[in-house]
């Protein structure tokens, strides 16, 4: 199970990259470039707050998983 978690750590790191890509290109940037003010506000909140929290958290989780921090003897 510990080796599964290490492999999954890489999966979560890749998922963080995917989420960053979609968060920026599908939601964040188009909304910032929109003419509607409500989209601009939401776009900035996505770029500056939501994407960093989600992507950063997922990446750190993936890194910890890969490094064995969630192995059976450590939790």
């Amino acid at each position: 199970m510990d080796s599964v978690k290490k492999i999954l750590g890489i999966v979560w790191l890749l998922l963080a990259v995917v989420v960053a890509y979609y968060g920026l290109t599908v939601f964040g940037l188009p909304k910032i470039m929109s003419d509607k003010q409500e989209d601009n506000v939401f776009g900035w909140i996505i770029l500056v707050i939501l994407v960093p929290i989600i992507v950063g958290g997922l990446a750190v989780f993936g890194w910890y998983s890969f490094k064995g921090e969630y192995s059976e003897d450590k939790i």
Binding site: L8, L15, V41, F42, I45, L50, I53, L58, F61
Partner: protein
């Protein structure tokens, strides 16, 4: 008849148990009532958003519209986690009781004051600025409330009953939503539409201060959590809970595990079952608004006791199995459920009743453009099964013919609403109730789960942040992401475009299910153990 005991020890144990139960019921009452009021306060803002927009954020004013968007998104996404950090830290340093007295007062007064702010017409830009500040204070207070209430009850509970006792806190978000719907419904039906629009909308906000007053008195008379009081007496509390919670890998990895292995999935399932179901029926199925409100209220009312059931069950079989099974069933069942909901009002398959068609055409002069008129086409179709479809389309007609914009005739403004027959109504209530069951499975045990994950010295801080990120951010993003997916699906001509929005909660919950199943331990933990 008095209970008979074989020994004095048995008698003393029985008396002590009765005393503990009386204490815990007082603790639950103090915590739950306040948390329920805070949820109610938070929800009435969203429920009355359309009215608030006309009073404080006129759509034709860009600055006011900007402030409106900020109030909507920032309060839900940004401020709640900050509230969690700020009040979590306070709660771990000075104590649970005083911190969640403060959050209650902040929420109560903010809500009451929203109801007192004069409109944009009266005081100009000061109005939306004041409402924005008060809404942000609501978000901040909510961010601090839940962690305090859950921790407070859990630290009073006996270990083998923690799931059961904390599940009472878990009913408060749903109960708060239910009560907000009822209060608004009663206020609306007690007043004329003009009275409600003029001043009646303020009543649900004012009512809050009465409820907060009662809750404050109850909470003020409670003692501090015994476990925290003991830790403070022994000098075992933290002086810097933020650093210990998030600056220390040993604890931070558990914060991340709580978020990605439990709360993230719980947040999307909670929002799907309680908010997405409502907006799907209103905006995708075009059901009549009051009927949706009443169906939701009934489904929530019927489902709420299950929070207690699954909290109790989690004491017997573990928190993890119930939460993970709830997530798994939701992932599998969402698409069939929503497909059934959508097809229950598929007008194309219905048969028009004899004399079931009513059509009316009226024309009125355009208020702002001389010579132009607005032509309304009103259609009512009654079908053999009792379903009623109302369709209103308004065409802007110039003196010379249809109004042309960018080389094309201006599209009519179309509003459609469907009132379902009683059989369909009960089917929809049942399908929403099933979704509420998923909510109760993932949410019922989670307070005890989160409390058990962290040591007492940083518990309030550590559990509050993942909770508000999982619910405020992952759950809060659901409307925006789901709307985008549905719109994209419709534009692409996808045959089941109306189901596309569900991919967001399904994928997020699936990731959470994998992480939770593989990484979380099944056995419930004791609060007194060293967690790491």
């Amino acid at each position: 008849m008095s209970k008979k005991f074989k020994t004095q020890h048995e008698h003393d144990a029985y008396v002590a148990e009765k005393k503990k139960n009386k204490t815990i019921w007082g603790v639950i009452m103090a915590s739950s009532l306040g948390t329920l009021i805070e949820w109610y306060d938070f929800y009435i803002f969203g429920s009355l958003a359309v009215v608030l927009a006309t009073k404080f954020f006129p759509a034709d004013n860009p600055t006011a519209a900007f402030l409106s968007t900020l109030a909507t998104f920032a309060a839900g996404f940004v401020v709640r986690p900050f509230g969690a950090l700020f009040f979590g830290r306070l709660g771990d340093i000075i104590g649970r009781k005083y911190t969640f007295l403060v959050t209650l007062l902040i929420m109560g007064f903010s809500t009451f004051l929203i109801g007192c702010v004069p409109s944009f017409e009266t005081i100009g830009y000061a109005a939306p600025v004041l409402v924005l500040i008060l809404r942000l204070l609501q978000g901040l207070a909510l961010g601090g409330e839940y962690g305090g209430a859950a921790t407070y009850v859990a630290e009073y509970s006996q270990p083998h009953r923690r799931g059961y006792w904390t599940s009472w806190i878990q009913t408060t978000a749903t109960a708060g939503l239910f009560i907000s719907l009822i209060v608004i419904l009663v206020t609306k039906t007690s007043l004329t539409p003009e009275e409600f629009d003029g001043w009646g909308w303020r009543i649900p906000f004012w009512i809050s201060i009465l409820m907060v007053g009662v809750s404050y008195v109850i909470r003020r008379n409670m003692k501090e959590s015994p476990l925290f009081a003991k830790a403070k007496k022994e000098g075992k509390t933290s002086t810097n809970p933020l650093k210990e919670s998030f600056g220390n890998k040993l604890n931070f990895k558990f914060v991340l595990l709580a978020l990605f292995g439990a709360v993230m999935g719980q947040g999307v399932i909670w929002y799907t079952g309680q908010f997405y179901a409502m907006s799907f029926m209103q905006k995708v199925m075009n059901l009549e608004s009051a009927q949706v409100d009443s169906m939701m209220a009934l489904a929530l009312f019927l489902g709420t006791p299950l929070f207690i059931l699954f909290g109790w069950l989690s004491d017997k079989v573990g928190r993890k199995p119930i939460m993970m099974i709830g997530m798994l069933i939701a992932i599998i069942a969402y698409r069939p459920i929503y497909k059934t909901m959508y097809n229950s009002v598929n007008i194309e398959e219905k048969v028009l009743a004899p004399k079931g068609l009513v059509e009316k055409r009226t024309a009125i002069a355009h208020e702002k453009i001389a010579g132009d008129s607005l032509i309304s086409f009103h259609t009512e179709k009654t079908f053999t099964d009792g379903t009623l479809l109302k369709r209103d389309s308004i065409v802007h007609w110039a003196a010379t013919g249809p109004v042309i914009t960018n080389g094309k005739a201006e599209a009519p403004l179309v509003k459609e609403s469907i009132t379902v027959n009683p059989d369909t109504r009960w089917l929809l209530i049942f399908l929403v109730f099933v979704q509420v069951v998923f909510v109760t499975m993932v949410y019922g045990p989670i307070a005890a789960f989160l409390v058990e994950m962290f040591p007492i010295r940083i518990r309030y801080t550590s559990m509050s942040l993942p909770y508000h990120i999982g619910n405020g951010i992952f759950g809060g993003l659901l409307p925006a992401v789901a709307t985008y997916l549905v719109t994209s699906g419709k534009d692409a001509g996808h045959p089941e475009w109306y189901l596309q929005g569900l991919w967001y909660p399904i994928i997020v919950a699936a990731v959470c299910l994998v992480i939770g199943t593989l990484y979380l331990k099944t056995k419930n933990k004791s609060l007194e153990e060293d967690q790491h």
